[in-house]
Symmetry: C2
Subunit: 345 residues, 2 copies
DNA sequence: GCGTGCTGAGAAACCGCTTTCTCGACTGCA
DNA sequence: TGCAGTCGAGAAAGCGGTTTCTCAGCACGC
């Protein structure tokens, strides 16, 4: 690996300074008292020789390499990008670096990639929204210490950090309900995705909480194009009475809004639209997109906090779910036409 | 580090199989002929014991760890995200993993971070748009093998992969000129950024190529907010006669367009706007944003190709600059008012 | 029948560092 | 002055593999 002056070893330094390797090591790690004169000589030799200790040798003897791996299905996803950034910054503060392992959505290789990545690192962060639960449980057992992102694994011995999608959707439905909407559409994400399933659960719970509300679930997707192309589907739902749409995420919502505008459908006049994630662009869309804000960087930092505890031999900390914060903006408004209810008639 | 069954070593396998460590190693690496019976016994023992060789020990003896590091100023930047993804996928195909080191724009720590990252890995990818050239040259010397992204270092012994910003800007100016624009504004990016400097050079060259064109350089930025907040500045330039704006990147352009629409300034009717990078959102903005497409993933793959050659002891390959592809969309159109020139009157 | 040349497996050295072990020297107290 | 107790530095034993070196065993040839 990487010493710029490959070949300069601790033995060279020891020889140059006229002391033993052990003393050089002691000076380097400063965990034992060493004669100040020796310290000076060693430091001088280190500087003179341009010595830098081998990370590999250190890893071997310590049994760790101060590196963790993050397994993601798609680095192009803003959520994972944000988590990675937060994780990377938080871990760096403790001297840890992050290795990325992009599985490129190949669910069948996810396990092997996770195992391999874990094998190079001290711990793992697993983002595997599509992996079957049974498999995930098995993998989690084998790669500990590990933190799982955005999955539910009741009873499993693993810390989980995630977003409370259920709650987010419920809050959003509450918001739309308060605005007067009674017929909604949920434009779903990838069907195999656990976080989409959570959102659907949110839809179900919202339905239970609002007997006067109907929510139609539509096939959608997670990218801009998916939203764009789902416009027809959405408009069909509108024909059936829907006055507001909740998209799987902001990307889909933004794509949808673009197409709607092209088609002359006014948002929120003709249809309210809301997203999820609160990507930076949401604030800059026209109309500004109502969304659920997710603290991506904070999520990453929280993942690191959990992992650090685990690495240090600490307990498996409790699952933490971030409740998305509703950012009500211009893309959602009371439905046009006769308002169903009014507090003060 | 990470064997799931920590403690199982090659010695255990050897003992279990009743052979020497050397034989186990041979079976593992398959680079020498071994008695088939021994091979079977060893493989059985490996399976039985759940043995996995220690990556650290391998690293120590081989002097490499099949990991490269990518140093970036800000993981939030779409360009670096794209490069990272492309790099990560390409490197993975050769069994290499990528470590990320986000310097969080702290230019003064960039060097130390690069050195430290290099020290853990076999090679480095350096994205340091703000680092002073002299320092960059020094760093590059010390961390080889390394590939530099988006910088010019004439005479330096280092492969460079980047975007031809000069050419991109020239092409864009050509496009605007052909549309009839004669007074333009360039809404700049971070002043210390090398890629901004390149764009400015593009502006200069374009001026030289089009004596009838004037381009005003405005202070801007690289994020959505920067563009949004620069609207007044841009409109002032418009008062002075500018009919088109080139933003540092798409984010700034999108932010600007949002604000312009709020202010009732029509794009491209009142003002043409163009960006750089062709982020996915560009196609979904209204109007669709004219931009210069940069193959981010391809850039990452190309970086890996260069690095792989270097790691294998190959030559320092030539600098490769990707010429951005002009994606002329709706946000740029002929200027309103009397057209200055016309081919056929 | 015995020397020569291979083949293949085990013994041991080595990668570069940390850490224990050992021992000499020095301090303090009787 | 002598002996137990400390302290600090060097020697050496790992950490877990790979690779060289060595040598036993065997086929072949004269």
């Amino acid at each position: 690996m990487g010493e710029r002056s490959r070949g300069v070893t601790i033995a060279d330094v020891a020889a140059h300074a006229g002391v033993s390797q052990a003393s050089v090591s002691r000076v380097l790690n400063g965990k034992q008292t060493v004669d100040p004169a020796i310290v000076r000589r060693v430091q001088a030799s280190i500087a003179a020789l341009g010595y830098a200790p081998s990370a590999a040798a250190r890893s071997l003897v310590h049994g760790r390499n101060d590196t963790i791996a993050m397994v993601v299905p798609d680095l192009g996803n803003p959520l994972f990008q944000g988590i990675l950034q937060g994780l990377s910054l938080a871990a760096a503060a403790d001297g840890y670096r992050v290795l990325v392992a992009d599985t490129a959505e190949r669910v069948d290789e996810e396990e092997a990639i996770a195992l391999e990545a874990r094998h190079r690192c001290d711990a793992l962060v697993l983002c595997a929204p599509r992996m079957p639960e049974a498999q995930l449980r098995r993998v989690v057992d084998r790669v500990a210490p590990v933190v799982v992102v955005n999955r539910q694994l009741p009873g499993a011995d693993v810390p989980i950090v995630g977003v409370d999608y259920v709650r987010g959707i419920r809050d959003l439905v509450d918001h739309l309900h308060a605005l007067g909407h009674r017929r909604l559409a949920y434009l779903g994400g990838p069907t195999a995705s656990a976080s989409n399933a959570e959102r659907v659960r949110g839809v179900d719970e919202a339905l239970a909480a609002h007997p006067d509300v109907q929510i139609e679930v539509l096939p959608g997707g997670s990218r801009l194009d998916d939203g764009y192309e789902a416009a027809d589907t959405v408009l069909a739902a509108r024909e059936r009475g829907a006055t507001a749409v909740i998209a799987y995420n902001d990307l889909a919502a933004l794509g949808l809004m673009t197409r709607l505008r092209e088609l002359g459908v006014h948002v929120p006049g003709d249809l309210s639209v809301a997203g999820f994630d609160d990507v930076p662009m949401a604030r800059f869309a026209l109309p500004r997109l109502t969304s659920l804000s997710v603290p991506r960087g904070e999520l990453g930092a929280q993942v690191w906090a959990r992992l650090r505890t685990l690495i240090a031999g600490g307990p498996i900390e409790h699952t933490v779910l971030y409740r998305p914060r509703l950012e009500a903006r211009e893309s959602t408004a009371p439905p046009a036409g006769p308002v169903v209810e009014r507090t003060n008639p």
